[in-house]
């Protein structure tokens, strides 16, 4: 039943974690967010209305395709079954649920035991309270309920429960088609075509059938330059065409045989019968009265539908009975909750208080909360907390085109100058691991040879590197300087960060570190949307931010390849560009791993970022919840993710 969820997998984006808490993109792509605040990506900002993104294509007949393609069957799986199999292989947890609920999470061992015990799926339906209502936390408001318009973590979170999708990926980022929506998925031997046969028992929440024509319409809408889709075009634009041969057979034609094609066919689906006529009048899909009405009362294709939405406060979802029942008979697993209420609480302290009071039943915890505010009886009375590895990394991004950071030695000096130990041990309470590059050290693409070693503060080395790069205190004023274009340039720069206390503290630590070697760094906390705009325009010296992980390493291309839209620091290295090119065209996983490992090492050598730490997942859950399991993208953004969470029946 992994509809919606991270099923949508286009490769694209990375959401920047800097300021507010947690945001993640839907797809398998990397996610970007400023510490919990919504990110609003706009890769189309530069697309003119006259631009044609999609040339007409004369698709061959299905008979011709079937005769020529040499189809290879792809996985069509039930993610819940996958998880069940994994749990069977793991065996029974070492402690019972009751004990896990009575325990306090004080060590790695207790965390593991509690996670395994409380993450178990129900053995049968009678154990589940299907009338349960759940209250979840949203750190920011949902700006749009249209899956095409989703750009923030909050929007992806809500959309994952209400929208329709064909594909998903598991906790190891293995892609598959979902049994809930797909009968078969085949790929041509040359990798240029994907054919999907959809189930015939799928309906939108208004009763209209979901067909292959909706898929085609959604694709064409995404590729319509007049439609300002914020975050989902990237990846989808790698497709040459999508053709519906009948109501249930849809074929995806690729421009090129790429290893990433599997991800490109996973994009959000909207109902054709709702938008077909209105899109010409209002391509924004948001401004006309009709579209406003659709925004407030959207048609759902997923397991839940939105029944109420109060801006800035709450989004109430209700289970769709017609999702899992067809003509009165169950055809899909029944979603575990009758209603899900998302409550918007922007302040993390308020969210924690609400969790303790029982007004919220899950929330992400920050390091301070995990360490100091969730150890008392008041917290454990109703809740418990669980942690797991999450591939989210934070960094300082240096603008490689700026006068200060164009020289690799200067960037390396920054990494040597920063007090990493103080950051990890004191500011991060020893909860996080040092980050050693763009890929997580547990990921398959992490280099196996020449493994990067974390930086440690070495001010002498930093000063030596700066001197080599020409930065010395020539006039004895205590500030490093250099002759640039015939003028003396003092080493004074501004670092932009989000407005959360943690971002500010980390940048202040950088300022303190650099002050010791005669560099003046000003810290400028900046509102998230401004920060995004400045980043896109490259109008900065340095920024502090973070990235969630993409499901495929190629998602890093738009951060580090020359001229890519998320290459905010304007880093450019021909070798890295070539390796990304090769990586997309290499199908053998081991060889791909080697290629991306080389990219990783080259980036580590060049230090376009000073990588700081991996932030793990820390969550507080109400004690009545079960079934939470984690992936490198946290407990929700994968398959089955949220679908696995349940509440036990009363007895």
């Amino acid at each position: 039943m992994q509809l919606g969820k991270p099923t949508r997998t286009t490769l694209a984006l990375i959401a920047w974690l800097a300021l507010l808490g947690t945001a993640c993109s839907s797809k398998q792509s990397k996610t970007e967010r400023p510490d919990g605040q919504a990110s609003s990506e706009d890769p189309l900002a530069e697309t003119s209305e006259d631009e044609v993104l999609l040339e007409p294509y004369a698709a061959p007949t299905l008979e011709t395709l079937d005769a020529q393609a040499e189809w290879v069957d792809q996985d069509v799986l039930d993610s819940m079954e996958l998880l069940r199999e994994r749990q069977q292989q793991e065996g029974l947890p070492s402690i019972a649920v009751a004990k896990a609920l009575a325990m306090r999470n004080t060590s790695t061992e207790s965390n593991r035991d509690m996670r395994l015990a409380l993450g178990r799926l129900p053995e049968n339906d009678s154990q589940v309270d299907y009338n349960a209502a759940l209250t979840r936390h949203l750190a920011v408001d949902v700006k749009s309920t249209n899956p095409l318009m989703a750009s923030s973590a909050a929007e992806f979170e809500v959309n994952s429960l209400t929208s329709f999708g064909l594909f998903g990926f598991d906790w190891k980022f293995r892609p598959f088609a979902s049994t809930a929506t797909v009968v078969s998925w085949q790929k041509s031997k040359d990798g240029m075509i994907d054919k999907v046969v959809m189930r015939d028992d799928l309906v939108w929440s208004d009763g209209q059938p979901i067909t292959a024509h909706d898929i085609v319409f959604s694709f064409q809408t995404i590729m319509n330059p007049k439609v300002p889709v914020p975050a989902v075009r990237q990846g989808t634009d790698q497709l040459r065409w999508v053709e519906a041969y009948d109501d249930h057979t849809v074929v995806f034609f690729h421009r090129e045989a790429l290893a990433t094609n599997t991800w490109n066919i996973n994009f959000p689906i909207i109902p054709k019968h709702i938008y077909e006529k209105s899109i010409a009048d209002d391509p924004t899909l948001q401004n006309s009265d009709y579209h406003v009405q659709q925004e407030n009362h959207p048609i759902s294709g997923g397991p839940y539908k939105i029944v109420r939405r109060e801006r800035g406060q709450t989004v109430l979802l209700e289970r769709r009975e017609d999702f899992y029942l067809h003509q009165g008979k169950p055809v899909r697993p029944k979603p575990h909750f009758k209603t899900i209420r998302f409550r918007v609480v922007t302040d993390s302290n308020t969210a924690l208080l609400a969790l303790k009071k029982g007004d919220l039943e899950e929330t992400q915890l920050n390091a301070e909360q995990w360490t100091a505010q969730t150890n008392d009886d008041e917290f454990y009375k109703r809740n418990t907390k669980i942690s797991d590895t999450e591939w989210v990394s934070y960094h300082f991004c240096w603008n490689c085109k700026s006068v200060f950071f164009s020289d690799r030695r200067v960037r390396q000096a920054m990494s040597h100058a920063f007090d990493h130990e103080e950051l990890l041990k004191k500011l991060c309470y020893d909860l996080y691991e040092p980050c050693t590059g763009t890929f997580h050290r547990q990921s398959w693409m992490y280099p196996k040879q020449n493994v990067p070693q974390p930086y440690h503060q070495d001010l002498d080395k930093a000063e030596d590197l700066l001197a080599q790069a020409g930065w010395e205190d020539s006039n004895g004023d205590g500030i490093l300087d250099k002759q640039v274009a015939g003028r003396r340039q003092d080493f004074r720069f501004t670092i932009l960060c989000g407005q959360t206390p943690r971002s500010i503290k980390i940048c202040t630590l950088l300022k303190e570190s650099l002050d010791q070697i005669g560099i003046i760094c000003s810290v400028k906390p900046t509102e998230f949307t401004v920060l995004q705009q400045v980043s896109r325009d490259h109008k900065f010296h340095a920024t502090f931010g973070g990235w969630g992980t993409g499901a495929d390493p190629s998602t890093s291309k738009n951060i580090f390849a020359t001229g890519e839209n998320r290459n905010y620091g304007q880093y450019s290295n021909r070798r890295v560009d070539d390796l990304f090119y090769q990586g997309e065209r290499e199908f053998d996983r081991d060889k791909r791993a080697e290629i991306y490992g080389q990219i990783h090492n080259q980036l580590w050598e060049d230090q376009p970022y000073t990588w700081l730490f991996y932030r793990n997942a820390f969550y507080g859950f109400n004690k009545r919840l079960r079934g939470y399991n984690f992936s490198p993208r946290g407990p929700y953004s994968y398959s089955p993710g949220f679908d696995a969470i349940w509440v036990p029946a009363a007895n």
């Binding site: 301070e368 360490t371 100091a372």
Partner: protein
């Protein structure tokens, strides 16, 4: 013949009775008010704390001899450029105690009363016998951190001592700006009257309509590098309207007085009459809103810092401390109590001084008191 019993036998002439001037009289009456005087002492105390903050809490020597020369590194807390660059050249890395001894065994130094820094955490190996500052909820008040530490381990006492400078500066500078504008505008409007008065009165009303907080937030968004001076300037240029109106009223009243007519008859210029003759007579009631304004400015700055719109970090302002206490309000009470108390007492002190001034200068209140 009768003799005056009081007359002195040496027949020295009687002392002529000298009547006290207005300011003397005001001071005398002000001194009689205990609360106002306590408040004044408190503000003077804060002034001393602000002035000598680098000597009270810091990690840089107040004075030291190094390689045969005398230096005053603590001045670096006032202005980075005043800290001699020799210490950067010699790679002191802002760690003076051990580096002084290691790099010049003959060196000596006079240290601040408390070895704590308002901008950074003191580490383990910096000062003999003093452990590194604790972080997070462990930073409760202790022997080395009298008012505890914030989440990053920066000493709260050191921040409060150095924050006093910001609090007083904000108050005095912003109200200095406001007073300068307010007095000039009010004086011109009140003295010149006519179309000047109409024009300036409308200007006053216009500025009164601008919400200073919103203006400050807008300016912060525009200005590339916001400093505390920007905040002071904005608070100043939006807070002068009350002073201007009061000045105008005083000038309207005083310009009809005989001493003004006399000055005019003597041929004094308008400027001289306004600022030499009338202003000194109008100043006492104007001081009252200025005093209250200082309190308000401190509150605005604290509020801005609390909201995260204050001076750029690291900014040891009382409001910033309050803000950091908000994150773990149930655990880190010391981050709320001490800065909250400081803001409360300082604002109260200024208000008491203002009230005392008002009572001391307003004859109607004086009578009521009797």
């Amino acid at each position: 013949m009768t003799t005056d019993a009081s007359s002195s036998p040496d027949h020295s002439p009687a002392e002529p009775l000298v009547s006290r001037g207005f300011w003397q009289e005001t001071w005398l009456r002000f001194r009689r008010r205990r609360l106002a005087m306590s408040a004044l002492y408190f503000v003077c105390f804060l002034g001393l704390v602000a002035l000598f903050s680098p000597c009270i809490a810091g990690t840089k020597p107040v004075v030291c001899q190094y390689k045969g020369n005398l230096y005053f590194p603590a001045l670096g807390y006032w202005n980075r450029a005043w800290e001699n660059p020799i210490f950067r050249k010699d790679r002191f890395r802002n760690r003076y105690p051990k580096n002084l001894a290691a790099k010049d065994p003959d060196s000596w130094a006079v240290w601040p009363l408390v070895y704590q820094d308002p901008y950074r955490r003191v580490r383990d190996d910096e000062w003999d016998g003093q452990p590194g500052n604790p972080t997070g909820a462990d930073g409760r008040p202790n022997r080395h951190n009298w008012f505890g530490t914030d989440q990053s381990g920066v000493d709260v006492f050191a921040q409060m001592v150095h924050g006093t400078r910001i609090a007083l500066l904000v108050g005095f500078v912003s109200m200095g700006i406001a007073a300068a504008i307010g007095v000039v505008v009010g004086a011109l409007a009140g003295f010149l009257g006519g179309w000047v008065d109409v024009l300036l009165s409308r200007l006053i009303e216009l500025v009164m309509c601008i919400p200073s907080l919103v203006l400050i937030l807008s300016l912060i968004a525009i200005i590339e590098e916001v400093t505390i001076w920007h905040l002071m300037a904005v608070i100043g240029v939006t807070s002068w309207t009350g002073i201007a109106r009061l000045t105008r009223a005083e000038f309207l009243k005083l310009k009809r007085m005989e001493f003004v007519t006399a000055a005019q008859a003597l041929g004094a210029s308008k400027f001289r009459i306004m600022f030499r003759h009338i202003l000194r007579n109008a100043l006492a009631p104007i001081l009252v809103p200025i005093t209250f304004g200082i309190a308000a400015a401190i509150l605005v700055e604290s509020g801005l810092s609390f909201l995260g719109f204050g001076a750029p970090p690291p900014n040891p302002s009382w409001g910033t401390l309050l803000n950091s206490g908000r994150v773990m309000i149930q655990q880190t009470w010391w981050l709320i109590l001490f800065p909250g108390l400081a803001i409360f007492l300082t604002v109260l002190a200024y208000n008491l001084i203002g009230e005392g001034l008002q009572e001391a200068t307003d004859p109607r209140l004086r009578k009521a008191e009797k």
